[in-house]
Amino acid sequence: MDTETVFAAHSYTSVRIKGEPLGQLPQDLYIPPDALEVYLETFEGPLDLLLYLIRKHNLDILDIPMAMLTTQYMAYVEKMKTVKLELAAEYLLMSAMLIEIKSRMLLPKPAEVAEDDDPRAELVRRLMEYEAIKLAAQRLDAMPKVGEDIHVASAYYQHIVEIRPPEVSLDDLLDAWKNVLKRAKLNQHHKLGRAELSVREHMSQILRRLKAEELIEFSQLFDLVNDGLPKLVVNFLAVLELAKEGLVRITQQEAFSPIYLQASV
């Protein structure tokens, strides 16, 4: 394990055992992987992790030692990988960004480049903005809120609605009467006489035939010569109705072969 790994943040170099500074973590130190996972997951993203590292080490955010920060950041990210924490792409992107900044700082500055063109500028700006939002969020969270610390008064009262009868004009009344008349006419127009052909009746007839013949070929149900179209239709409806009610079984061996009806057992 790299000595500058996760644990660097906890500055164990100050730990002394028998007077000797502990320069390295004992290799057999056991940390339950689950515990570590929980710990690592508390970061809200790469910016949060970077801020943690900066604050933990009292680094000057305006003059970040990039080499140190990058090393530590990478150590965390490596640790996250080893515990198989699903690593958000943002962490990897940040690794790349840190390395880029670090390498740009190693390059000799061209003379004409302005003094304030610090490769760290954008990172610092983002870190500071994120830190401000983080603090603002904590402050919002701490503010009293309705439903938590603020209790709104709500006296009970019997809700009485002022009842206003609807207004009616003579025209409304006339319109209503016309509608009544219109509907009366429609009803008259559509009044039906007693159905001459009853589907129910044909259903019974078919069932009766099935009782005697057991199996009827579909086409035999229809007397195309003597029955009129209405009767044929009603007869067909009767077959469908019988099937729907589960009173007959309709079978066909294969497509286009004869269709047979038989009474359901």
């Binding site: 809200e44 993203g45 790469p46 910016l47 949060d48 955010i61 305006l62 958000a88 943002e90 940040m94 304030d116 610090d118 760290r120 500028a121 954008e122 610092v124 700006r125 983002r126 500071m128 903005e129 994120y130 830190e131 401000a132 939002i133 983080k134 603090l135 603002a136 969020a137 904590q138 402050r139 919002l140 969270d141 503010m143 009293p144 809120k145 309705v146 439903g147 938590e148 610390d149 603020i150 209790h151 709104v152 008064a153 709500s154 006296a155 009970y156 009262y157």
Partner: protein
């Protein structure tokens, strides 16, 4: 229909309405109580008096974003809270940070939020805030994809006991005094 005869009665009407409304009442709501026979200035004056009348009681009249409401004074909160021991679970940091970004930088898109937080926005976070009626979509940014622009609602201000966003703690409180290196 009977109309109130004096100032005392008018204040009593306001008081009863505010206590029973169940939500903040704004000036227009309260003008309805007097069937249009009340000037806004008079109403404001009456509300000020009402506020003063209640000053030494256990509930107080306060003004929030959507109007006026009566609420228990803060010193009783901890006791009243015992009536409902199952307190609401705290919002996660992701939710609160997203809310803070929307509150201070609105209107913002998801992209803006991701830019500041450095991580992808979980749709759940936005949904939680919308369900609480603390944020809503106020439009779309005219860029490819037309992302939704989020802003905080008046209900958010009501719940935070604020009259306007200007009453939020100033953002400068959270930034270091020298904010250099603006690229």
């Amino acid at each position: 229909m009977r109309e109130p005869e004096n100032i005392t009665e008018m204040k009593q009407i306001l008081e009863a309405a505010l206590l029973t409304a169940g939500q903040p009442l704004n000036l227009d709501d309260m003008l309805k109580l007097f069937a249009g026979r009340m000037e806004r200035a008079t109403l404001r004056m009456l509300l000020d008096e009402l506020k003063a009348d209640w000053a030494d009681k256990t509930v107080e009249l306060v003004q929030v974003a959507t109007g006026y409401r009566f609420q228990a004074k803060p010193q009783f909160s901890e006791f009243i809270a015992r009536l409902n021991p199952e307190r609401q679970p705290k919002y996660s940091r992701a939710v609160m940070e997203t809310l803070a970004i929307i509150a201070y930088r609105q209107p913002v898109t998801r992209g803006d939020i991701e830019q500041i937080r450095g991580v992808a926005v979980n749709p759940n976070v936005i949904r939680q805030l919308q369900e609480r009626d603390w944020i809503d979509v106020v439009g779309q940014r005219e860029v490819p994809g037309r992302p939704s622009l989020y802003a905080t609602t008046k209900h958010f201000l009501d719940d935070m006991n604020l009259r306007s966003l200007a009453e939020l703690p100033p953002f400068e409180d959270f930034t270091q005094s020298e904010m250099p290196l603006d690229s």
